[in-house]
Assembly symmetry: C2
DNA sequence: GCGGGCTTGCACAGTTCTGTGCATCGAGCG
DNA sequence: CGCTCGATGCACAGAACTGTGCAAGCCCGC
């Protein structure tokens, strides 16, 4: 087991990718999945995984970094190009929803702060952006809530996860879920239901 | 280590209670807390814990049963004595909030379905009651949501947890948290913010 | 103060996981 | 065709945890 310094798109690289891919879904199902379980699921032997990642922590860290980056990008992209804060909120929710499937692992891992204690910090930028958006909306009266902006941001985050899980449990059709999540989050922020519905419908054409 | 058949209020019983009490908070912090950690936190030796509970599963099970019972009772009590569905919803949220601190363990444990897979079933009655309440409200037009009742119930559940965690993280004052949670959940169910605020204020005098 | 139940300390077997070393095999690239 | 990088299988040390056994100590109620 030596350096693995071959260029991209080699067999090794494909394997590495597949391990990461499989590990994501495997850790989602069980945050305590062993290296053995992950390896088997990737159609590989445990020893091979250690050829790509020196230890479990590095593997999980790589995973989290990728997911966070994707979510942050989606979140930012979704809310640009509008002055309307409610619209920005709806846009970011819809955009994040697109990468939601991969985002779920963050919930599972975040729950077990011991495994990756740095996860809260890694997600901090996204959370900060959400909070700022909500704070401005609350100030301008676009949003109404008894909760301070940071708390509301936190609640919003959990609502997104909740809708994802509802889909997982068959309580909700996947096609409508993103829009439903956006509408529900807007109404939770005090936006009238009719307005929220119209706004989301317009954005998700 | 023999039978421990002494009547209540003995030393042994006090110890048992303290172990359960401490285990609750300890498992909340880390769902994977070892028997050693729990014992130490309870000011007791690991061997003593095994004197009260034959194994880890029994200990956790006892814990979960107690928490579920308390929550179910609070949920039921909070929504009785009114025909107004919105008021019933607010009442149950406020009531559940009172036992919220102990309820949080259920989240942490529910996340790790491996440990106690029966937890979803144990909570089923509460969830069913919530769902039914929401379903009737949606039918009557008291509530408005793009989500079907079961999904909305799930989202509500998570919102409650989210507010609890917000308090934990210092994002929200504990005194106002219960009322804020109730208002936010009502608005998420499509109840106008002004109405929701008035309703909760009236109930929590 | 005496006894019996409770607690402690220690030891031990069994399990499961991690990370590593080493020899061997396979497959593609030059 | 042969060389090399990667994959495999196996073996091993070390750590952590669970559950149990046993002997000795402690403390409260009778």
């Amino acid at each position: 087991m030596t350096a693995m310094t071959t260029g991209p798109s080699s067999r090794a690289d494909a394997n590495r990718r597949r391990i990461l891919d499989v590990a994501l879904t495997e850790l989602l199902r069980d945050p305590d999945a062993s290296m053995e379980q992950i390896a088997r699921a990737a159609g590989v032997v445990r020893r091979t995984v250690y050829g790509h990642f020196p230890n479990r922590e590095t593997l999980v860290g790589t995973l989290v970094d990728g997911a966070v980056a994707a979510v942050a990008a989606a979140h930012a992209a979704g809310r640009e190009g509008t002055e309307d804060l409610a619209q920005a909120l709806a846009g970011s929710v819809l955009a994040v929803w697109e990468v939601a499937d991969r985002y779920r692992i963050l919930v599972a891992l975040a729950q077990r702060s011991v495994t990756v204690q740095g996860i809260q910090e890694r997600l901090a930028p996204v959370r900060a952006a959400s909070t700022e958006l909500l704070r401005r909306g609350l100030n301008e009266g676009v949003f109404v809530s008894p909760l301070p902006a940071p708390a509301l941001a936190h609640v919003h985050e959990q609502m997104l996860f909740a809708v994802m899980e509802a889909v997982n449990n068959g309580l909700l059709a996947a096609e409508e879920a993103g829009r439903s999540a956006a509408v529900t989050m807007l109404t939770a922020a005090g936006v009238p239901a009719s307005l929220a519905t119209a706004l989301v419908a317009k954005l998700s054409v």
